[in-house]
């Protein structure tokens, strides 16, 4: 593994994922523990791929980030644990995308590849 890649993994690694809630429509909310807290640079990076709502008046700020048709993630800035909601129909792809996005966080992330993957999921043929 290249030093840069291993460095990225150190920045944001999933330590543990547990099922927090299963909704009526099959949607699953996972509680995910990351090895570092979620900070603004990460959220700005995410904003490139979807819709970010950040409530900066709150202390600490609350955010929710959605890539339509793929997943929704929410949490408090400065917290290491987040909730991620995956729809039943794209559970596997949504989880994969989520992991790829985190793993690619850092310099030189392949945003084109990520966008293409998002589009595939949204169009229903990943």
């Amino acid at each position: 593994m290249s030093p840069m890649l291993s460095g990225r993994w150190q920045i944001m690694r999933i330590l543990k994922a547990t099922k927090f809630k299963q909704c009526r429509d099959g949607t699953v909310i996972n509680e995910i523990h990351l090895d570092d807290h979620v900070a603004l640079p990460l959220l700005n990076y995410l904003a490139d791929f979807g819709e970010l709502r950040i409530f900066e008046n709150m202390d600490p700020p609350f955010y929710s980030f959605t890539i339509p048709g793929c997943f929704t993630m929410k949490g408090m800035v400065t917290e290491k644990s987040i909730h991620v909601k995956f729809k039943k129909e794209v559970m596997k792809q949504g989880r994969e995308l989520f992991q790829v996005i985190l793993a690619q966080y850092g310099e030189g992330s392949d945003t084109r590849m990520i966008r293409a993957y998002i589009q595939q999921i949204q169009e229903g043929h990943p």
């Binding site: 202390d59 929410k74 949490g75």
Partner: protein, 382 residues
Amino acid sequence: MNPGLTYCNNAASTWPKPSEVLDAVQESFQLPYFEAGRSTIEGLEDYPELAREALADLFHFDVPDHIVFTQNATDSLNMLIHGFCAATRDRFHVITSDLEHNSVLRPLTLLASEGKITLSIIHSDKGYITVKGVEDALVPETHLAVLSHGSNVLGTRQDIGGIGEVLYDHGVYFIADGAQTAGLVPIDLNQTPVDAFVFTGHKYLFGLPGIGGFLIKDPSRITPVRQGGTGVDSGNLAHPVDMPAKFESGTHNYPGIVSLWAGSRYISRQGVHNVLQKCQELTSLILHECTGNDHITLDNPEPDLPVISLSLDSLDCEDVGYILLKKYRIIVRTGLHCAPLIHQKMNGGEGTVRISLSSINTPEECKYVSHAIREVADHAHP
């Protein structure tokens, strides 16, 4: 141990439990349980009998043997609804309401889809079912009504006495779902025309999860849907018809029953009127602080029970629940609270944030919760 939580999800399950409940359960483990008819042990406490007497006392009910233990309110409702249906030969009409929990709606929907019943769902008005509404829904084939005593969403309390009178006059069997009121609201079953009253242990009776039951006036109207060992009349292959064995087969949940016994005595000693009054005072503290805030919508500004459903204008209910937990360590419930029809009516099925208190909550906790809700409401603007 103080985990630093402010617990406001008592309509789901009360927490913490009074220490005397925990102590009684702990103590009951010291010796084998006395299992009537199933053990040679003697001289120990007969917990099911003690619990039946304590519950009979609490609910002003003369026949302790007509108190049946089940797993929870859902189990009780299923036994009663399916048992009534099994005892009734022809297809009949049932009345229920849009306030009901899925433990009522789902068994009835199943029976309707199987063609065994026809179903009328009465529409509530501001969380209340009226006697007139019930009267209007009656048809000659109506044999059963299943209605809640207290709403777990809006915190309204129904006039089961008035409703019961009309149903009694028309010969309709009335099952009242007291999951949200047992232990919280004074109930005099000797005076209330209800045929079966359902309770659950883990809510306002301060028992453990996994114990519940019902009180039944005329058990002959319900066929037991389960048969098995009862510890009595073992040589007979037909299931006993005597109460309470008719509806209690298999080994009891003894720790749960002990918790119910201790919880009922805890409430009786305080006086259920006082418990309700304290809960109402606590609820008013929060309501008072949240009323008039433009960002907060209260679904029922004047609940009878300690249940407050609300929503904020800029966040969905799940997000509010998340923030309350993460920032303030406040536990609430969010979503539909297993009562889908009333949510459809209130806000198109969006769900709410539900704050529900017990008499163990304190005024300080209520002030903290109000402060938190207001702070989130006032700052939640992206």
